[in-house]
């Protein structure tokens, strides 16, 4: 580890480009505006753009054929787990290189990518029409610069198995707990609330989503945790989580089961209510080929406090690394992916990637191509960013403090107070810069 760090650090230091000053941003050709039409209408023909994407992007071999025919640019897609993509970006960018020409990034990495300057600024690449059409663009901006094109609108919505839940109320978190207790008592489902509480990112998301659903925030404007206040929604959310687990409504094995296996469990009929879900998971749970509960999956608005159903989005974006080898060609591909037709096609045939352009969502709903579109439309009216203040560069450290503490607190049967105090203590130790 000493040698790896030494070699990576030796190649890094001050080599990262500051935002907006990446070499190709100054060339003009990367901007691709109509005024700077190249002499050759396929100026990047023959180049191959490499994409690094997580496994839920199921691009078929013929998907990029039209793009290649139009531009002469070939596209190569490599699938890799999201965490591994992050590691690839960190190690290659620190060493002054890039893992691919286009990479998928999670919303939680924007602060890191932005402050390290590892992105090609897309502020002037995306035209105003597209920017105005993407409601969550601010999630992928850093200090006013666009770090990535929001591409997967992974907003959070809940889902139920109607075979277990029936007509029981699930509109508030309190009702969810009561309904889950009734389902458990009836013998229909031993652990009605489906989630993972392992020492991983999803545990943090579960708590944050509940906080938002209760009308709260995690941090104030000065980055102090609201958790210190026992009347705060974030404290209440933690209390609900502990109550669900300690009442036997959540499978104790959830402390060690990863996110992917939880979905499989739900599809197999184990579990009744999933608070932290998304359109992609609802799609998967309703897949007639792989799901036993395909006829019983129903999305519901995120249960809140009775006055709201606030949710948040944990979207993904497409970023061109600052040191991408084929930056201009990557820009062409990115602009193609941002078009309405391609976003629609990506949703319909390439893995159910929920679009980020509002006009596309509207068109899909009106044409009947968006299953459960009415519920989605209703939920999308109450979506808030996770951190209204912007993405902190130290989010990874904060998230680790949260998920390791919640996981440990549940395992060792801590009180909510002790768990909250530990999260506060660890968060205050983070050097926020």
């Amino acid at each position: 580890m000493v040698l790896v760090l030494g070699m990576v650090a030796a190649c890094s230091g001050k080599t990262a480009s500051p935002p907006g000053n990446s070499p190709s941003a100054s060339t003009g050709t990367a901007q691709g505006s109509a005024d700077s039409a190249p002499a050759n209408d396929k100026p990047y023909a023959g180049q191959t753009v490499k994409m690094l994407m997580p496994p839920w992007y199921k691009f078929t071999p013929d998907f990029f054929e039209k793009f290649t025919a139009e531009t002469g640019i070939k596209v190569e897609v490599e699938n890799m787990r999201s965490g591994q993509i992050h590691d690839n970006i960190v190690t290659t960018s620190a060493a002054g290189s890039a893992p691919a020409d286009i990479v998928d990034i999670d919303w939680s990495w924007v602060g890191q990518m932005g402050s390290a300057g590892w992105y090609h600024d897309l502020t002037d690449v995306l035209d105003e029409q597209i920017k105005n059409d993407i409601g969550i663009l601010n999630v992928f901006t850093y200090q006013g610069r666009v770090v990535a094109l929001p591409f997967f609108n992974d907003f959070r919505i809940s889902m139920i198995n109607t075979d277990h839940v029936g007509d029981l109320p699930v509109d508030t978190l309190e009702n969810v707990i009561e309904t889950a207790k009734k389902i458990k008592a009836s013998g229909k489902d031993e652990y009605p609330i489906v989630t993972t509480l392992e020492a991983g990112e999803n545990t943090t998301h579960e708590w944050i989503l509940m906080t938002k659903a209760l009308g709260g925030e995690v941090f104030d404007d000065n980055w102090n945790l609201y958790l210190k206040d026992k009347n705060s929604p974030s404290y209440k959310a933690l209390t609900y989580l502990f109550e669900m687990f300690n009442s036997g409504l959540i499978d104790p094995r959830a402390l060690g089961i990863p996110y992917e296996e939880v979905i499989e469990s739900f599809k197999a009929g184990r579990g009744s209510i999933k608070i932290l879900a998304g359109p992609g998971q609802i799609d998967e749970a309703g897949d007639p080929e792989t799901s036993r509960i395909k006829d019983y999956v129903k999305p519901i608005l995120v249960p809140g406090d009775g006055t709201r159903h606030t949710t948040t989005a944990m979207p993904e974006g497409i970023m061109i690394p600052a040191r991408a080898e084929h930056k201009e060609a990557a820009v062409e591909l990115l602009k193609w992916l941002a078009s309405s037709e391609v976003m629609k096609e990506t949703f319909k045939t390439q893995g159910g990637i929920f679009p980020t352009r509002n006009s596309v969502i509207r068109e899909l709903f009106e044409s009947g191509d968006l299953p459960h579109g009415d519920v989605y439309a209703q939920q999308l009216e109450d979506v808030e960013p996770i951190f209204p203040q912007g993405q902190p560069s130290w989010y990874a450290e904060f998230s680790e403090a949260v998920y390791t503490t919640i996981n440990r607190g549940l395992k060792e049967k801590w009180s909510v107070d002790k768990t909250a105090e530990t999260i506060i203590e660890l968060t205050e130790k983070i050097e926020k810069g």
């Binding site: 650090a9 030796a10 094995r253 680790e400």
Partner: protein, 287 residues
């Protein structure tokens, strides 16, 4: 051969060691005294021993050091005990000895990730064979998450590490056992020494260099484990090793300076432990 020729022959390897070992090590040491954070690349400055001071105040460091110490003590103990037993068994000639040797090496030959994933599925809380069998035999009433309890989780990781390293330790000890002349045992038998006395007075003293090497290597491996605790329990503090902590600090939090201080600490501890082994060996030999 003249000395010049000899130096010329080893020059490429020395160059490789300098480029890929010495220089990165020195750079790591230098950076460990800086506040190198990848998210603030224009603000790198010398901060003295602050990163090292943080090692003493960071409660998570104490925890991961405790976990790592547990791994080292338990895995090295069992690897040496079982390794010696296996080596003694394999020293004998029997018909399928070579086949046993070939199969035995398999856990060591597999990438640690593959072994870790295999064991994870064996102990899987929903589908694992251990849960299936234990429930069928009435030893448990319902399927368990075996990593829910911290000590069980630590022991599980140790089990996987011992399973992986046992062949390696056995082969080291076997190679030294095979060098012990047979006539020493004959002489001991003539002098009236029983099996246990032969083991204590002949085998163990002559095996000491092999034991030292095996313990040193086993310790270094256990000090640096990553795959097994990660695969079994993700980033849970219950089982996080110091190498995992190093990874999260450097590559997730992007605090390279602090990460390098952790690396230096691990290096110093490993060197200290190995130095004490070697010193003990030379003391025994001199005695």
């Amino acid at each position: 051969m003249r000395y010049g020729d000899a130096y010329l022959l080893i020059a490429p390897f020395v160059l490789l060691i300098v480029l890929f070992v010495l220089i990165p090590f020195v750079l790591s040491l230098v950076f460990s005294f800086q506040n190198m954070t990848l998210t603030d690349p224009d603000n790198i400055r010398w901060i003295g021993f602050k990163n090292y001071e943080r090692l003493f105040t960071d409660p998570s460091i104490r925890r991961v050091l405790g976990n790592t110490a547990f791994y080292v003590v338990v895995t090295v103990t069992f690897e040496m005990l079982f390794g010696l037993m296996v080596a003694l068994l394999l020293r004998r000639n029997f018909r399928i000895r070579f086949l046993v040797l070939a199969v035995m090496i398999l856990p060591w030959a597999l990438p640690p990730v593959v072994g870790g994933v295999t064991w994870r599925w064996i102990f899987h809380p929903q589908y694992g064979i251990v849960n299936v069998l234990f429930e069928r035999w009435g030893w448990i009433s319902e399927y368990k998450l075996w990593t829910a309890n911290r000590w069980m989780a630590l022991l599980l990781v140790c089990l996987i590490v011992v399973w992986r390293n046992l062949p390696y330790v056995s082969l080291i000890l076997l190679s030294f056992l095979q060098q012990i002349p047979a006539d020493l045992y004959e002489s001991a038998a003539i002098d009236g020494a029983g099996k246990w006395q032969q083991f204590r007075r002949v085998t163990l003293p002559l095996l000491l260099p092999g034991i030292t090497i095996a313990i040193s290597l086993a310790t270094m491996i256990s000090m640096n484990i990553f795959d097994e605790p990660y695969i079994m329990n993700q980033f849970s503090m219950d089982t996080m090793s110091v190498t995992m902590k190093n990874y999260t600090v450097a590559f997730r939090d992007m605090k390279f300076g602090y990460g390098m201080a952790i690396s230096m600490m691990v290096t110093a501890l490993t060197l200290l432990i190995n130095f004490s082994y070697i010193k003990t060996m030379y003391k025994e030999e001199a005695a």
